[in-house]
Amino acid sequence: MTDGSSTADGASTEAPSAGRSRPGGRVSSGFGRYLFKHVGGAAVSLLLVLFSSFFIFRLIAGDPIDQLTRERPVSPEERAAMRAELGLDQPMWQQFWDYITGTLTMDLGESFQYRRPIFDLIVERLPATLILSGTGMVLAVVLGFWIGTRAGWKQGTRFDKGHVATGLLLYSAPTFWLGMIIILVFARYLGLFPVNGMRSPSTPPDFWSQAADIGYHLVLPVLTYTAVVYAGYLMIMRSSLLDEIGSDYLTTARAKGLRDDEVRRKHAVPNALLPTVTLVFLALGGVVNGSIVTETVFSWPGLGSLFVQSIFYPDRPVLQALFVLFSSSTILAVLGAEILYWFIDPRIRRSG
């Protein structure tokens, strides 16, 4: 334990030093400096994530061996053999060093529960997550923006009120509960869709059969996922549009004789889009994280359900790797948004 805290101090002194090196580089052009600043910030965040991931999951108490030997009496020799195999007999600094060097070289170690390389596990499960949250995210963004724009434009109408109410109701519904209700209605009682999983074991292995089967299994999870998150985009789009709605340039556009539709599409929406860019980029980062709850309810074999299983286990190496993966995808997505801002928002260019 003392080992652990001394290394923890080591980590926290090291991280700012990485930040301190920032001003050292001298970059002349405005964009260069802007880019450097944000890339540097992202790098510091990544390092902090990398270091903290090691310690966060060591806070989960308990001996991993207890899980491996559940319901079975074991001798101390067996215990020792397991410790050695999982690398738990190594001193803390050695484990830390292995973790850092391993993560940087994409050798993420072995999972306690699966006894397989974590890298393989992630590669195996990533497509499932991308399919589910990718589809859900696109639907949610399109739906949210589409309804949000119209609701904002016609603020106070029944269309507006109805959609805001429905959206918020679904937004506040617990995903778990909503998923169960959807399962009960569409799978259990109507029998239209499968309850669970990504495909059935009896589906022929050829591409088209597999694709159709996955599409068939995808409907309910995507429905759940989209229903829960689309309201977020709806509300942001709606309020951004409301900010613009009284602006003089819109009056000017109308005065030019443009149709209402065109005023909205060509003038109001582009200006209202700015705040939502961040949201979309965050969403892109979130595609990797998947939807932990939706995946769990539907036993969708993605990274989210892997994360949940690993927490219950607790499968420390997997948690570490996923935490780093999830955080870095978000960090990189935000970085992407910041870089994009430079091009789409003139104010940033001016303030340099």
Partner: protein
């Protein structure tokens, strides 16, 4: 744009979609029937595969796949009696050190090669010579001296110490030498590659993490080909989803249910609920003897707990039947000892020695022993005057334990004990328990058919040698020389009845010493699709369980497909519905765009 018009359009498009989907759904069953002529037995599971290596598996799921893929020399019968498996007969030498098995003739591996005594000798040889495999199985392998096959049907095993029950009940899964000898490291977790080659009724052929494990029937199985063509373990992370899948006919066997789920399933057409005696006990461990082998005390258990009178009084103040009724909804039995009722040959039911629930008598016991009540009603220890104030730890993830803790705390409060219940996360609780830093804590184990395993966790021999709580071999640091003597005797007693007598005597001793209070034995709650499956052999055969069988997969091997329609694969209507949806959406979009164009001018 007029919002009402938009709403109407959206609604009519949605209605069109639903109508077409609905119409197709009606037509679905007829289209689905043609697809599939494989009889699959689908079992819901939520546990991941650690390794298919039968020497190293740790999880219940891989125990089950090993049990079906491979076989043992001696099989565990449906009523937990040893019966011939790969060995047709066996003989123990006079000194108990040499065992001679006759290996069944005509058995083939699933790849068609013959199984001989050489394969058996190779398998036991791995336990003796492969260091890693030996370490993993040291409690059994440490006692093995040699494994030889003088001819194709004879296998001779030599032991260091007599140990008949370990030899008969220890599951050593016999592996094919012609396959395993080609593996670079037979002890590796990924040693054996799919499809597995075994001699059992089903072999693992396919595994997708988090999705399914498929086992194909061994058509040439020496004991007759199984009724189903394949067994599939299908992943359901949520048990409510698994129940819905059972109701929808997507999965055939669901286990680990709670009383509410059982209640909802009971009486449904085509679903049979199996409420069977279980192998699991729930108990309260009392920290009365945190001491190492050489006598060093550790931890901070309350000194009053060292007094057996206090422990017995606490035991008497628990109404176990009430706990079964309220916590388990009646699905269990009050417990007396470490061996559950399901193993009736070994279970000790207490007879006249059972302490009945009697708070008054318990109070009298404490009064007599000099634990007087203070002004606040809390008893104090004679001499030191320390109040009887105990920490009571429960696992935070169990609502059952929370209810029990509430009941028991109230009963104990009536004894004049001050109880502080606390819910603690499982890992932390284990750490504290093995460090001896608690007073009373919950525990529970699933018990196997060989009582030596559980009893062995209560001998002086497994007391810790260190005080850091890392060894974790002793369940509660129980140490009683008389108990140990009985334990050594029962381990070598070949006569089943004489052995059972010794085992019962061990349980009686533990009941008197009360290091642990056994609360109840929990039933196994499971349900299956009885329209699809018939003829499953339960374990035990009368009123026994389906999942959680030991020593042989009786239920899955004996299950026969009843004639009911098959469902599986992607129904034909999905293809049609997808096409229809695309058409509807495309048409809707075109109409929408056209309308917009047309009315745009009018709207201004």
């Amino acid at each position: 744009m007029n919002p009402h018009a938009l709403m109407r359009r959206c609604l009519s498009a949605a209605a069109a979609l639903l109508l077409s989907a609905g119409a197709l759904a009606v037509a679905a069953p007829s289209a689905a029937a043609q697809e599939n002529d494989t009889d699959s037995l689908l079992i819901a599971t939520d546990q991941e595969v650690d390794t298919f290596n039968p020497f190293k598996r740790r999880f219940v799921i891989t125990y089950n796949t090993s049990l079906m893929t491979y076989e043992t020399l001696v099989r565990m019968g449906a009523d937990y009696e040893p019966e011939p498996g790969l060995a047709t007969e066996w003989e123990e030498s006079e000194d108990g050190l040499t065992w001679t098995f006759t290996i069944r003739e005509g058995v083939e591996w699933s790849d068609g090669e013959p199984l001989t005594a050489q394969d058996v000798a190779y398998t036991y040889g791995l336990l003796i010579e492969n260091q890693a495999i030996r370490d993993w199985n040291i409690d059994f392998a440490g006692n093995l001296v040699s494994a030889e096959a003088p001819d194709d049907t004879t296998f001779v095993l030599t032991l260091a110490q007599p140990s008949p029950w370990d030899v008969l009940t220890r599951e050593v899964f016999v592996v094919p030498e012609h396959v395993w000898s080609t593996y670079p490291d037979p002890s590796a977790d990924d040693a054996n590659q799919l499809p597995l080659v075994g001699s059992g009724p089903f072999q693992v052929t396919e595994y997708e993490t988090g999705e399914f494990i498929t086992l194909e029937a061994n058509e040439g199985y020496w004991d007759g080909a199984p009724g189903f063509d394949e067994v599939v373990f299908d992943y359901y992370e949520e048990s409510d989803a698994a129940v819905a899948a059972l109701e929808a006919g997507e999965v055939d066997i669901v286990s680990g249910l709670n009383p509410a789920q059982i209640g909802a399933l009971e009486g449904q057409d085509g679903i049979t609920v199996n409420n069977a005696q279980g192998r699991r006990y729930v108990s309260l461990t009392i920290n009365y003897n945190s001491v190492t082998k050489d006598g060093t005390e550790f931890g901070d258990g309350h000194p009053a707990l060292k007094d057996p009178i206090v422990r017995q009084a606490m035991h008497m103040a628990i109404d176990k039947q009430e706990l079964v009724d309220t916590v388990l909804d009646g699905n269990g039995q009050p417990a007396t000892s470490i061996i559950p009722e399901i193993f009736e040959q070994y279970h000790w039911d207490g007879g006249d020695a059972v302490l009945d629930f009697d708070i008054e008598a318990a109070n009298a016991l404490l009064d007599e022993a000099g634990y007087v009540r203070g002004d606040d009603g809390i008893r104090t220890m004679p001499g030191t005057g320390e109040p009887l104030s105990f920490r009571f730890y429960q696992h935070a993830d169990s609502t059952d334990y929370a209810t029990i803790a509430q009941f028991v705390s109230e009963w104990w409060a009536e004894l004049g004990l001050e109880i502080t219940p606390e819910a603690i996360e499982q890992g932390t609780l284990n750490d504290l328990a093995y460090l001896g830093e608690f007073d009373i804590a919950f525990s529970g184990w699933g018990v196997g058919p060989n009582p030596t395993e559980q009893l062995g966790m209560h001998t002086c021999a497994v007391l810790p040698t260190l005080t850091d709580g890392t060894e974790r071999s002793s369940e509660n640091n129980y140490c009683n020389a008389e108990f140990d003597a009985l334990h050594e005797q029962q381990k070598v007693e070949s006569d089943p009845e004489a052995r059972a007598e010794l085992v019962r005597e061990q349980q009686r001793l533990m009941y008197e010493d009360t290091p642990v209070i056994y609360l109840y034995y929990q039933n196994v709650l499971e349900a299956y699709n009885s329209d699809k499956i018939t003829g499953m052999t339960m374990q035990p055969s009368e009123g026994g369980m389906i999942t959680g069988q030991q020593g042989y997969a009786w239920a899955y091997v004996t299950a026969q497909p009843a004639d009911a329609e098959d469902e599986g694969g992607t129904p034909m209507w999905v293809w049609i519905a997808v096409a229809a949806a695309v058409v509807v959406v495309a048409a809707g979009a075109i109409v929408f765009v056209l309308q917009r164009r047309k009315t745009a001018d009018e709207r201004e």
